[in-house]
Amino acid sequence: MTPTEALITETTEVHCADVEAALDPVEADGTFRDSRECAALALSSGTTSLLLSPPTPRPKKG
């Protein structure tokens, strides 16, 4: 295998791993919205009310 072929193989292997990672992403860290912001959204979108539901429980620290 020439150095160029080795580089191509290595690059392709990296791509395969990156493709797999991109196709199976972990859930992004989220910032929970303040209920007041959701209320503003609900008011601006007519009949929406579900976004006014109680906040989703935040992950416990520690």
């Binding site: 690059t11 791509h15 990156d18 991109a22 196709l23 199976d24 989220g30 976004l51 539901s53």
Partner: protein
């Protein structure tokens, strides 16, 4: 988590490709995937990064043709076929990777049926990994597989989604509240196809909000655009 250089380039290539798909969905432009194969790459073999981007974006690369906004372009189909062959799921691949790969083959067969029975979309992956999972995980996985949310498609995955519309609606709300716009857009796309979604969800307004807040990411814009097109199609 820190991304590798290749991963960052791949993310950029996927976003560029998503931009092109959104443009095609909005204006009927062709993608010209074959051209992108020759110009996108900087470090790998010719077209490697672009092919990887096609594989990651999955069947949505052909969404303008699936929704009959543009006719299928034989060159685009050839590129997608090449990506499918270049990046098959590994032996230990995730269910989402397997489903994405299957869906690309399925879409190719849908748009370009072979003259003989030589090519098939293969065995459909199972959806057992979603049995009884919490609604948060269900929504995340469905959002990752949002390109499979298409009308008239019946698979184990779509059946799993149809059984839990309220859970997906809850997941949509959670994603919005977490500002996870990509997940919200993907979940919203699924919700446009499901019966039994609570009217109180306000999906239409929610999708507009997601587009407004997260639309700078072309992948979000693509899912919202797809959802709105599917919703409009369902309303006709």
């Amino acid at each position: 988590m820190k991304q590798s250089g290749t991963s960052i380039r791949l993310t950029g290539a996927v976003q560029d490709l998503a931009t092109e798909v959104v443009s095609a969905l909005r204006g009927g432009d062709h993608l010209r995937l074959a051209e992108s194969l020759s110009v996108r790459d900087e470090t790998g073999p010719p077209g490697d990064l672009a092919l990887a981007a096609v594989r990651v974006l999955g069947p949505d690369v052909l969404l303008p043709a699936v929704l009959r906004i543009v006719p299928p372009d034989p060159d685009d189909l050839a590129v997608v076929r090449k990506a499918v062959d270049a990046f098959p799921p590994s032996a230990d691949a995730s269910p989402t990777s397997r489903w994405s790969h299957w869906a690309m083959r399925h879409t190719l067969l849908r748009l370009d049926p072979p003259l003989d029975d030589a090519r098939t979309d293969g065995t459909e992956p199972g959806a057992g990994w979603l049995d009884g999972v919490p609604w948060q995980f269900l929504t995340h996985q469905l959002a990752v597989l949002a390109p499979l949310a298409l009308p008239a498609d019946d698979s184990a995955l779509t059946r799993a989604a149809r059984h839990r519309p309220v859970d997906v609606a809850r997941g949509f709300v959670r994603a919005v509240r977490r500002r996870d716009w990509l997940q919200a857009a993907g979940a919203g796309r699924w919700l446009t196809l499901l019966d039994g979604v609570p009217d109180t969800l306000g999906l239409e307004g929610g999708l507009e909000f997601v587009a407004q807040m997260g639309g700078d990411d072309p992948r979000v814009a693509l899912q919202v655009q797809a959802a709105q097109l599917l919703r409009a199609g369902a309303a006709r």
